[in-house]
């Protein structure tokens, strides 16, 4: 395939012929995103939330989190007993799932949401209230209880929920083909 001495005319003709071949029948692999979005496999590492019931507050996830995105909050549960629950800052999180894997009671509810963006800091650091000063420590915020309420056991909202969900399939000729789960 890689001989060095190639004659130039054949090279030019080959290049133009290949160009025309792909111009004539373009096997596009484009996903037109805002209208369609991909149904990723269930082991995809997307946004996640803590399950309040199963979490035992051992703060192993905070120790292992490489970017220190998790901070443990001192809360009191319904029965008045003290409990510690993790709070995740999406501005630091790198989605490596070390916390999900190290959790002794598997207390994280994972999801396949992968395309969230935010207009301002207040949207991802805290649900309400002004953006926090660096270095962030949720425990020092007065309203961290409400923040936690709006965070645990809440399935992250999928921004592309409205679009058509397609499933990517490998194809010998086109590389990746998208099939709508409905039709064949």
């Amino acid at each position: 395939m890689t001989g060095r001495k190639n004659n130039r005319i054949k090279g030019h003709v080959d290049a133009l012929a290949t160009g025309f071949k792909y111009l004539a029948e373009p096997n596009r692999m484009t996903l037109n995103y805002p209208d369609e979005s991909m149904n990723l496999k269930d082991n995809y590492r997307g946004f996640f939330a803590v399950k309040d019931k199963t979490c035992i507050g051992c703060s192993l996830c905070e120790i292992v989190c490489p970017p220190k995105a998790i901070s443990m909050l001192d809360l009191t549960d319904a029965g008045g007993k003290k409990k510690k629950r993790p709070m995740i800052d999406w501005g630091l999180c790198i989605f490596c799932y070390f916390c999900v894997d190290i959790c002794p009671t598997d207390a994280f509810q994972t999801s396949q949401v992968h395309d969230k963006a935010f207009y301002s800091e207040t949207e991802y650091q805290t649900v309400h209230g002004e953006p926090m000063q660096y270095p962030y420590d949720y425990s020092k915020r007065p309203d961290y209880k409400e923040i936690y309420e709006s965070f645990h056991d809440v399935a992250p909202d999928d921004p592309s929920a409205g679009s058509k969900k397609v499933v990517p399939k490998f194809d010998k000729k086109r590389g990746i083909k998208y099939e709508h789960p409905g039709q064949p």
Binding site: Y22, V64, I94, C96, I102
Partner: protein
């Protein structure tokens, strides 16, 4: 802006007086970080007309101090850091660090884990080569090759995404083995992707590798002889393209490479065209290796017994049911015995070298690593001198230099 020099001063000089004013003929070009042909670095180029006199690469624009950070964090936390530096080739970076850490801890991964590591490392080598060919194309002006290379990367990235669940930063390899097993039906899907890749390589040959304009731009440009390649210490496909038959997978075997048979292709010319051919050959070799690995991958556990025994019952049940490796608390409090270890892995761009020192603490005492692109820096200072300005992107693209990897 400097005041416009006094143009009349040189107006009435004769030609040879002008030639005498060498400094006046020189033009210093700052090909800075915001330049389509420079990547994340600033290249200071002294030019006389169209010929490059001297090049001084000003790197460090993406120096994210990985060594200092890793020396103040737990051993397990260095895996994501090491990956973020070599983003087009994350599995090999992760593999290099974990081999050095396993030698420090004295843990042996299981055979199946070794094969899984080789499989993902080879798939990532192909995506890294395709990333290099894509950038090489855009540097020479052909946006089609850039688009084709990034299109052909996608099926391979999806293959590893099926195994590990992330698109590029997998953090897939941990001390003692790997984190996930092959999903069902993976072998057939992988075979389709490999056949797609082989069919596409033929089209690359027609529109790019044997394109006369490409051959004019790359043949005889940036020649690195065999002795120069060794003297300058460049690594990876650039070294093999100059005729040096050295491949870390063969010289310092690791993972499942000892019991795989693959050739190490070499070319002798050492110019930009040879480096391009070298990368295409290595993609074919990697496809061969992947087929072998998929054919004779042994069954069994994917995490070594030292780690498996430390898991709590729920995690063990989770592993038996869904073959998903959960971390025991030991992972967050690893304390390797005091000692030192080195490791070398052949990444897509060349040899990664690791040197770990631990004094029994939870954080490494000395964390030293050298990435292949840092060793490929002499391409700028020695190989580009004397070439035309238009050869700078040609040599830069052919050396597959990735600035975040060089700055660490």
């Amino acid at each position: 802006m400097s005041a416009p020099q006094d143009r009349t001063a040189t107006a009435n000089l004769t030609y040879d007086e002008l030639a005498g004013l060498k400094a006046d003929r020189e033009l210093v070009l700052l090909i800075g970080p915001a330049h389509p042909g420079s990547g994340h670095m600033k290249i200071k180029v002294w030019m006389d007309g169209d010929i490059i006199q001297r090049v001084d690469p000003d790197i460090g624009f993406v120096h994210r101090t990985t060594e200092k950070l890793s020396e103040n964090r737990l051993y397990i936390k260095a895996i994501p850091i090491v990956e973020r530096v070599m983003l087009p080739d994350t599995i090999n970076a992760n593999l290099a660090y974990v081999i050095a850490l396993e030698r420090l801890l004295g843990i042996e991964p299981t055979p199946r884990a070794q094969y899984l590591r080789t499989l993902t490392s080879e798939i990532n080598r192909i995506t890294s080569h395709l990333y290099g060919i894509g950038l090489y194309g855009i540097f020479l002006g052909s946006s089609t090759v850039y688009m084709w290379a990034f299109a052909d990367r996608e099926p391979l990235i999806d293959l590893i995404e099926e195994i590990s669940g992330a698109r590029i930063t997998y953090s897939y390899i941990i001390p003692g083995g790997v984190r996930w097993d092959l999903p069902a039906g993976f072998k057939e899907r992988a075979e389709t992707v490999l056949q797609y890749m082989e069919a596409r390589l033929k089209d690359y040959g027609k529109i790019w590798v044997r394109n006369p304009v490409v051959m004019d731009r790359t043949e005889g440009v940036g020649v690195v002889s065999k002795s120069d390649a060794i003297r300058l210490g460049i690594t990876g496909p650039n070294l093999r393209a100059s005729g040096v038959d050295y491949d870390t997978r063969r010289a310092k075997p690791y993972a499942a490479y000892p019991n795989l048979d693959f050739e190490v292709p070499t070319f002798s010319e050492g110019d930009c065209y040879a480096r391009l051919l070298q990368r295409v050959e290595e993609i074919e070799q990697s496809i061969r290796i992947i087929r072998q690995v998929l054919k004779d991958i042994p069954d069994g556990r994917i995490i070594s017994d030292d780690i498996y025994s430390k898991m709590n019952p729920l995690q063990k049940r989770m592993y038996e049911m869904k073959h998903r490796v959960m971390f025991p608390a030991y992972m967050a409090s690893m304390r390797p015995a005091a000692g030192r270890s080195t490791a070398s892995v052949e990444a897509g761009r060349g040899e990664i070298f690791f040197y770990l020192v631990s004094n029994g603490d939870k954080v490494p005492f000395r964390f030293r690593w050298v990435t292949p692109s840092f060793l490929n820096l002499p391409f700028f200072t020695h190989v580009m001198v004397g070439q035309h300005l238009a050869d700078l992107p040609a040599i830069y693209g052919s050396s597959d230099y990735f600035p975040p990897e060089a700055d660490r």
